[in-house]
C-alpha cells in the first residue's frame, strides 16, 4: 500500500503535533519511524489510520484520500490495515481465537474461512497452545504475538506497528521483529513501525525516518540518495 503525506499538519489547540509533513512510503517498504517521546510518531500513525484528522494537508493511501468526510472510504481502507499497538488493544473478555476471529468477521469473511485463517495465523505466531486463553492469562510476548496474529489474519496490505517491542524483553522483541520482517519479505506487506529500540533498527537495513518536534528531521532514503549523488558527482569529477 502506498502512503503519501502532502503538507500534513496536526495541532491540538496551541500544540503542534505534526508540522508540514511531506512523505512517501512505497508499497512493500519497511520503514522505521524513530524519535524521542512527543516527536509525533504516534500521531503520524494515527493519521494514517484516521484516528486523527489532519488539521491541514492531504493523506493518500493507494490514491484514496483519507479524511473523516469520507467515512465509508475509511472503513474500507482500515480493513486492509493490520495494526499492532504497544498496549496490544486486545478485547479482554474474548479469547485469543475470538479476538482474531472478530477482525475477520469485520472484513466480512464467512465462518468457515474465518476458522481456517485463525488456524493459520495462530500457528504462524506459535500461539496454538494459548488460543483459548483470555488476554489476562497471557505474557507480554504472547499478547504481542496475539496482536500480530490479529493484524496478519486480515492479510493486510499495510501493517502499522506502534512501539510493538515497547513492553517486551530482548528475546521476545527479536522474535516479533523477525516475524514482521519475514512477512514483509514474503508477502510484500508495507510495514510502518515506530520504535525506540536502536539495536533492532541498526540490525536491519531498512528505511529510517527520524522525527523531532513534529517534523521529519531526517530520512535515511534521502540521505542514501544524497550520498549516491555525491559519490556520482565525485567520481565524474575524478574522471
Amino acid at each position: 500500500m502506498n502512503i503519501i503525506f502532502k503538507h500534513v499538519s496536526k495541532s491540538f489547540g496551541a500544540i503542534n503535533a505534526l508540522t508540514d509533513i511531506n512523505l512517501e512510503i512505497k508499497s512493500g517498504d519497511f520503514v522505521f519511524i524513530v524519535g524521542p517521546s512527543g516527536a509525533g510518531k504516534s500521531s503520524l500513525l494515527k493519521i494514517i489510520l484516521n484516528q486523527y484528522d489532519p488539521t491541514s494537508g492531504e493523506v493518500f493511501l493507494d490514491e484514496h484520500e483519507i479524511s473523516s468526510k469520507n467515512k465509508k472510504n475509511i472503513e474500507v481502507i482500515r480493513k486492509k490495515i493490520g495494526v499492532i499497538f504497544q498496549d496490544y488493544q486486545l478485547i479482554t473478555d474474548k479469547t485469543v481465537e475470538e479476538n482474531i476471529a472478530l477482525a475477520l468477521d469485520i472484513i466480512g469473511l464467512p465462518p468457515l474461512e474465518i476458522s481456517q485463517r485463525v488456524e493459520k495465523v495462530i500457528n504462524q505466531v506459535y500461539l496454538n497452545s494459548r488460543r483459548h486463553l483470555f488476554p489476562s492469562q497471557l505474557s507480554g510476548g504472547e499478547l504481542q504475538r496475539a496482536a500480530l496474529a490479529r493484524a496478519l489474519a486480515v492479510e493486510p496490505k499495510l501493517i502499522l506497528a506502534d512501539e510493538p517491542t515497547g513492553n517486551l524483553d530482548a528475546e521476545n522483541s527479536w522474535n516479533l521483529i523477525k516475524l514482521i520482517k519475514d512477512i514483509n519479505e514474503q508477502s510484500g506487506v508495507t510495514i510502518v513501525m515506530t520504535t525506540h529500540n536502536m539495536d533492532i533498527i541498526q540490525s536491519l537495513d531498512k528505511r529510517i525516518i527520524t522525527m523531532k518536534n513534529g517534523q521529519i528531521s531526517s530520512d535515511s532514503i534521502i540521505i542514501k540518495k544524497k550520498k549516491k549523488l555525491k559519490k556520482k558527482h565525485t567520481s565524474s569529477k575524478q574522471l
Binding site: 489510520l49 484516528q51 472503513e75 474500507v76 481502507i77 482500515r78 480493513k79 486492509k80 490495515i81 495494526v83 488493544q89 486486545l90 478485547i91 479482554t92 473478555d93 474474548k94 475470538e98 476471529a101 472478530l102 477482525a103 468477521d105 469485520i106 472484513i107 465462518p111 490479529r150 486480515v154
Partner: protein, 290 residues
Amino acid sequence: MTPYKNAWHHIRRSPFQSLVAISVMAISFFCLNTFAVVSSGMTSILNYFETKPEITIFLKDGLDKSMVESLQSELANYPNIREIKFISKEKALALYKEQNKNSPMLTEMVTSSILPASFEVSVSNVKVLEQISQNFTAKTSQVEEIIYQKDIIESLLSWTNFIRKTGIIIVSVTSILTFLIISIIISMKITNRKDEISISRLLGASKFYVKKPFIIEGLFYGLIGGFIGFTVNFVLVLIYSNQINVFFNPIIFITQNYQYYLALFAISEVSASFIGYISSWYGVRRYIKY
C-alpha cells in the same frame, strides 16, 4: 463472530443487568395482558346488559284479567318492542322454585300468593325503556315496582371506563419505564464496552456493525420479557378462569377463546420487541458516536 453471538456474549457477561431488563419488560407486559383480559371481561358484562335491554314491571295484587290485558296492549303500542312476557304469580313461583331447587329450605314456605305478577319487556332500542319506565311509574294503583337496567349499565359503563383509563395509564407508565431502563442498561453496556467498540472501529468495523449486537440485545429483552409477561398471565387465566366465570355466571368474564390469546401473544411479542428495539436504538444512538 456473528452479531447474534456477540449480543448473547454481552448478555452473559452482565447477567444481572440483563435480568433487570427482562424483568421490567415482563412486568410491563404482564400488566398489559392482565389489563387486556380484564377489559375484555368488562366489555362482556356491558355487552350482556346492553344487548338485553329489559324492563320488569311488577304489578300490584288483585288486578283483574281485563286490567292486565289493557296494560299489556298499552305496552304493545310502544315502538321497538321485541317481546312482552307476562309472568303470572303461578309462573313466578315455578321460576322461583327452579332457581332455588338446590335449597329446599327456601322453597318450602313460599306460595304463589306472596310473589307478584309481572311483565318482562324486552326492546330493540334502549330509549323506549326510558319512556315505559316514566309512564308506568305514574300508574301507582296498578304498578308495584319497576326494575330498569339503566342504572346498572351506567354504573358498569363508568367502571369499565375507569378500568380502561387506569389500564392505559399503568401500561403507558410501565412502557415508558421499560423504555428508560432498557436504554440505560444498553448505555451502561456500551460504556463498559467502549474499548471493544473503538478497537472494532479501528479494525474497520462500520458503525452499524458495532451497533447491531446492542440492538439485537434490546430485541432479545423485548421478545423474552413479552413472552414471560404473556405466559404468567395465561397461566393465571388457565388456573382461575373457571372460578371467575362461575362468579359472573351467566356472563363469560374470562374468555375461553384461544384465538384471542393467540392474538394477545402476537401483540405482546410485537410491541415488546418494538419497545426493546426502540430503547436499545435510543441508547446506541446516544452513546456510540465514535
